[in-house]
Amino acid sequence: MDKTIASLAEAVAIVENGMTVMIGGFGGAGAPIELIHELIDRFRATGAPHDLIVVNNNAGNGRIGIAAMIDSGMVAKMVCSFPRSSDPRAFTERYLAGNIGLELVPQGTLAERIRAAGAGIPAFYTPTSYGTDLAAGKPVAEFEGRHYVQERWLKADVALIKAELADRQGNLTFSKAARNFSPLMAMAAGRTVVQARKIVEPGMIDPEMVVTPGIFVDAVVEVAAPAQEEELIRQGVAR
């Protein structure tokens, strides 16, 4: 079994029009910039994939990464907790013009809904958002004298994530806070595609250190020197 693939182009080829795509990262930590930019290049060259629903904590920053996806016009809707950033123009402009959808989800609920999808839990109850506008229309139940909101799992067709090490079986480690949503998204997507800083042979990652076991991963491509979003923004890079 070898889940490595040779090119970014092959990695993003599975994304189709209208798919829900989870993208790892919180701020620049864990953002799979190279996978995202490859997907944008494909859209610009071929017109597909379009009408994507993108799941990420944020909605892009500056003119690169998810912001550049939005700028390109390939995103129909964002599912996120915090569609703001130091430079949120890409989302803000389209949103205020009514050209992109938004499902706003509290951060912990977003994480738990994604985990639930990966764990085969179709619904769960959380105290979060009870009594607020974000609970509108959702079932409410009382347990032990306290009120809770029923939330549903959040699945994706594809997850694009960034890892530190990957072995050929898809076992992954992450770098520091770049872990964030990525292990959850890997569980929740029909297909999980990973860019890893280094691909190693099975057995080279201590079984105690594996954060995402290979069962949750479908394809791994090596990006040895990944760009960091914060650096690109500092340099004023636009995709």
Binding site: A117, G118, G120, E201, P213, I215
Partner: protein, 223 residues
């Protein structure tokens, strides 16, 4: 008395359907035997409920590490690419549909795919383990079992009489006499022992066996 497959041979037959790279959970006891018969050139990755992916064979006697055991509490070893995780992650793999195949034992399987394999009734101490999770977890839930009980009664039945493990969950049954799929809530015979007639097999089966195309020959090596 008709010749029938041994447990080892049933396990061998089940192993032939496991694809290279498949993630597989084998129930404790008899189903564990399936791991011995991976066809050449294929390598499945075995999952155990207690938090290991890609464990390997049993260690030599005296070399056991009792922190390295499977769900049956038997000592195992690790293959390259193994990973440890806690029980919630382990059953996220199960319940979340990430396993390709789960192979379980059975007291009874109904033509609807209902399975009974955890309780023989209200007597004694009930124990369920991970069986009720596994039947809803894997993309393919298969059963390996003798075709009939020790008393000669059908284990493949119209409706289970024993407490259920899961409803409409089994998709394939490997027995000592046949390979049977469950399609649209009916038994469909895929393979049978060459020495046995369809009518003989039907007489040992508690619900109607349908045929859809050719019936394959269930041929298994001496083991």
């Amino acid at each position: 008395m008709i010749a029938k497959l041994t447990s080892t041979q049933i396990a061998w037959r089940a192993a032939q359907d496991i694809e290279d790279g498949a993630y597989v959970n084998l129930g404790i006891g008899f189903p564990e035997m399936v791991a011995r018969f991976q066809p050449a050139g294929r390598q499945a990755i075995f999952h155990t409920e207690n938090g290991i992916l890609n464990f390997g064979e049993a260690p030599k006697k005296g070399e056991e590490d009792w922190d390295l055991i499977n769900a049956g509490k038997k000592a195992v070893t690790l293959n390259p690419g193994a990973a440890f995780f806690h029980h919630a992650d382990s059953f996220a793999m199960v319940r979340g549909g990430h396993l390709d195949v789960a192979i379980l034992g059975a007291y009874e399987v109904a033509e609807t795919g209902d399975l009974a394999n955890w309780s023989t009734g209200p007597k004694g101490v009930p124990a369920v383990g991970g069986a009720m999770d596994l039947v809803h977890g894997a993309k393919r839930v298969a059963v390996i079992t003798d075709h009939v009980t020790k008393e000669g009664c059908p284990k493949l039945v119209k409706n289970c009489s024993l407490p259920l493990t899961g409803v409409r969950c089994v998709t394939r049954i490997y027995t000592s006499l046949a390979v049977i799929d469950i399609v649209a809530l009916r038994f469909v015979l895929r393979e049978k022992l060459p020495s046995m007639s369809f009518d003989e097999l039907q007489s040992l089966t508690g619900a109607e066996l349908l045929v859809d195309g050719e019936i394959g020959l269930l041929t298994v090596p001496e083991l």
